[in-house]
C-alpha cells in the first residue's frame, strides 16, 4: 500500500459526509437514547426512569426469544449459504460468454426489492396458486407456511438461500479469479488431487473474501425485516418473529417507546461489536494485499 501523508486539512474533505451522516444517524440515535431512559404519560410529559427499561428488557422472555430465533436463523442460513456459495463458485465458468451469462443471471435476485422478494415467495409457496406449494401438495406433502411453524421456517430459509447465496458465490468467485494459473500447473505437476487443490490452493486464497462473505451475511441476516414480514408477518404465532420484526411491532404497533428504545440500543450494541470484527478483518486484508 502507498504511504499516506499526514494532513489534517483533509478533515475539510470529510466534513460534508460527517454533517450528512450526523444528521441522519446521530440525531435519531440520540432520540433513541432519550426514550430509553424516560417514561411518558402522553402529552409530551417525560420523566426520568434511569435504567429501568433496560432491566425490564433484559428480564423479559420476549427479547431473549426473539434473539434466540434470530441466532438460529442466522446460523442456519450461514451453514447453508457459505458451502453452497463456494460450491457454485467452483463450478462457474472461468471466462468468456458463459461466465458473464452466469454472473448476470445469478445477480438478478440480489437486485430485487426486498418486499418483492417476499411477495415472490409468498406467491410461490401458496398451495393454491404457487408452483412450489402446488407441486408439494400434488406429491402429497402436507405443506402450509401460514399455519405450520416448521413450514414457515423452511420457506423463509429457502427464500433467503435463494436471495443471497449468489452473493457468497460472487465473492468466492472473485477470490478464485485472483489465483494465478501457475498455481494450478504446479499442482498438476505434483499430481495433487482435486481435494488437495481445493484445500491447499483455493481455500486459502479465498479465505479473505469468505470472511467478508460470512460477516456480511451474518449482519444482513441479523437485521432481516422485510422479507419474512411480507411472507409470514412474523407468524404463525411468533414463530418467525426475528429481532427487527419484534422491534417494529413494539415501537409502532404498541407504541411502547421506552422498552423499544432500550431494545434498539442493545440490538445496536451487538451490531457495533460485529462491525468491529468486520472492520478488523477488512483492514487486515488490505494490509496483507498491499
Amino acid at each position: 500500500m502507498q504511504e499516506k501523508t499526514v494532513n489534517h486539512k483533509a478533515w475539510f474533505l470529510v466534513l460534508p459526509v460527517l454533517v450528512l451522516v450526523a444528521f441522519s444517524a446521530v440525531i435519531p440515535l440520540m432520540t433513541v437514547v432519550n426514550y430509553s431512559i424516560q417514561d411518558t404519560f402522553g402529552n409530551n410529559q417525560f420523566f426520568w426512569v434511569g435504567l429501568e427499561w433496560f432491566e425490564e428488557m433484559l428480564a423479559s422472555d420476549r427479547m431473549w426469544n426473539a434473539l434466540g430465533r434470530q441466532l438460529l436463523f442466522s446460523g442456519i442460513i450461514l451453514a447453508i449459504e457459505i458451502p453452497l456459495g463456494i460450491f457454485i463458485a467452483l463450478n462457474m465458468p472461468k471466462r468468456g460468454f458463459w461466465a458473464s451469462f452466469c454472473l448476470v443471471l445469478m445477480s438478478l435476485p440480489l437486485l430485487i426489492p426486498w418486499n418483492v422478494v417476499g411477495t415472490i415467495w409468498q406467491i410461490f409457496g401458496r398451495v393454491d396458486i404457487g408452483l412450489l406449494g402446488y407441486t408439494l401438495k400434488a406429491i402429497g406433502v402436507d405443506y402450509n407456511y401460514t399455519n405450520d411453524a416448521l413450514d414457515a421456517w423452511i420457506t423463509v430459509i429457502v427464500m433467503d438461500v435463494w436471495h443471497w447465496t449468489s452473493l457468497v458465490a460472487l465473492l468466492a468467485y472473485a477470490g478464485l479469479q485472483s489465483i494465478p494459473d501457475a498455481y494450478y500447473q504446479a499442482a498438476k505437476i505434483d499430481q495433487a488431487s482435486r481435494w488437495s487443490v481445493f484445500r491447499y490452493i483455493e481455500l486459502p486464497k479465498m479465505a479473505g473474501v469468505l470472511m467478508i462473505a460470512i460477516l456480511l451475511r451474518f449482519m444482513d441476516s441479523f437485521m432481516i425485516y422485510t422479507e419474512p414480514f411480507v411472507v409470514t408477518g412474523g407468524g404463525p404465532g411468533n414463530a418467525t418473529t426475528f429481532l427487527s420484526i419484534d422491534l417494529v411491532k413494539m415501537a409502532t404497533g404498541q407504541f411502547d417507546l421506552g422498552p423499544a428504545a432500550a431494545f434498539s440500543l442493545m440490538y445496536f450494541l451487538v451490531i457495533l461489536l460485529i462491525s468491529w470484527v468486520f472492520y478488523t478483518v477488512m483492514t487486515n486484508l488490505d494490509r496483507r494485499e498491499g
Partner: protein, 285 residues
C-alpha cells in the same frame, strides 16, 4: 468418474477435464433454474387474468393478457409509486456520490486526526438495522416538516448509502498511483480543477459502480421509505404492500407490479457484472 480413475489411470488424466466441465455445467444449470423459477412464476402470473390464476393451475398463461400491466401504467396511484421511488432514489444517489467523493479521496490519500475511527463509524451506519432508526426518523422528519417528501427518504437512505459509497470509492481510489496527484500539482492544477478534470475520469468506473450500488440499495429498501411517506411520496414498494394486506385478491396486478420493480436492476446489471462482488464487499475484493 471414480471408476475411470481406478481402471484407466493414464486415460483418466485426459478425460477428467472434459467430464468435470460437464458436471459443472449441470450444477450451474440446476442452480440457475433454482434462481429463475420463482421469477418465472411471477412473470407467468402477471400475464394471466385473476380468474385463470385462481381457477386453473397452469405452467404458462393460456389466455395471454397484458391487462395487468395496462392497469398499472394507466392508474396514477400505481404508476406514481414508480415515479416517487425513482425521484428519491436518484436524489439519494446524487447526494451520496457527491459527498462521498471528496471524503473517499481524503481517506485514500491522507492520514489525519481520527481517520480510522471515522472510517469505522461510517461502517457501523451501513450495518445499522433500519428498524432501530425507523421511529426516530419519523419524528425527526415530522418535526422539521419534511415528512412525506422525496428529500426525506433520500436523506434517510444516506444513512447506509453514504458509507457504502465512501468505502467503494476508497477501494477504487487507492488503485490510482499517487504520482498522478503530485504531477498535477506541480503542473499548477488547483485541487478542485485536478479533482474534476484529471482524477474523476481516472476512477470513472468506480463512480459508476458506487452510483449503481447506491441506486440499488435505495431501490430495494422498504422499511424507511414506507415509514417516512404517506401519500405524496409513497414508493412503489409500499403501494404493493397495501394491495397485499387490503384485498389479497388482485394477484395479477401485484405480480405485474413486482415484475416492473425488477426491470431497472435487470437493465443495468450487465454493465456492472464484473464489479458486483467488489460493490457488495464494500470495495474490498
Amino acid at each position: 468418474m471414480t471408476d475411470a480413475t481406478t481402471t484407466l489411470a493414464p486415460a483418466a488424466d485426459r478425460a477428467r477435464p472434459r467430464i468435470r466441465v460437464k458436471g459443472s455445467a449441470i450444477v450451474m444449470t440446476l442452480y440457475l433454474i433454482f434462481m429463475l423459477l420463482p421469477i418465472y412464476w411471477l412473470i407467468n402470473m402477471s400475464l394471466k387474468t385473476n380468474a385463470e390464476i385462481l381457477g386453473a393451475f397452469s405452467l404458462w398463461p393460456r389466455n395471454l393478457t397484458f391487462q395487468n400491466y395496462v392497469t398499472i401504467l394507466t392508474d396514477p396511484s400505481w404508476y406514481m409509486g414508480y415515479v416517487n421511488s425513482l425521484i428519491y432514489v436518484v436524489m439519494n444517489t446524487v447526494i451520496s456520490v457527491t459527498v462521498a467523493l471528496p471524503a473517499a479521496y481524503a481517506f485514500s490519500r491522507y492520514r489525519f486526526m481520527g481517520d480510522k475511527h471515522l472510517f469505522f463509524w461510517l461502517l457501523t451506519n451501513r450495518m445499522a438495522p433500519p428498524a432501530v432508526f425507523a421511529l426516530p426518523f419519523f419524528q425527526l422528519y415530522s418535526s422539521v416538516g419534511l415528512f412525506d417528501t422525496h428529500i426525506a427518504v433520500a436523506l434517510a437512505h444516506c444513512l447506509f448509502n453514504v458509507p457504502l459509497a465512501v468505502w467503494i470509492l476508497e477501494g477504487f481510489m487507492r488503485g490510482v498511483p499517487k504520482e498522478i496527484d503530485e504531477t498535477a500539482y506541480i503542473d499548477g492544477y488547483s485541487f478542485p480543477h485536478f479533482f474534476v478534470k484529471i482524477f474523476m475520469p481516472l476512477i470513472a468506473s468506480g463512480i459508476g459502480v458506487a452510483a449503481f450500488f447506491c441506486f440499488m440499495f435505495s431501490w430495494v429498501e422498504l422499511l424507511l421509505s414506507r415509514t417516512l411517506t404517506s401519500v405524496d411520496a409513497k414508493p412503489i414498494a409500499s403501494t404493493m404492500t397495501r394491495t397485499v394486506s387490503a384485498s389479497g385478491l388482485d394477484w395479477g396486478v401485484l405480480a405485474a407490479a413486482g415484475v416492473l420493480t425488477i426491470v431497472p436492476g435487470a437493465l443495468v446489471i450487465y454493465f456492472v457484472r464484473n464489479y458486483i462482488a467488489k460493490g457488495f464487499a464494500l470495495g474490498r475484493v
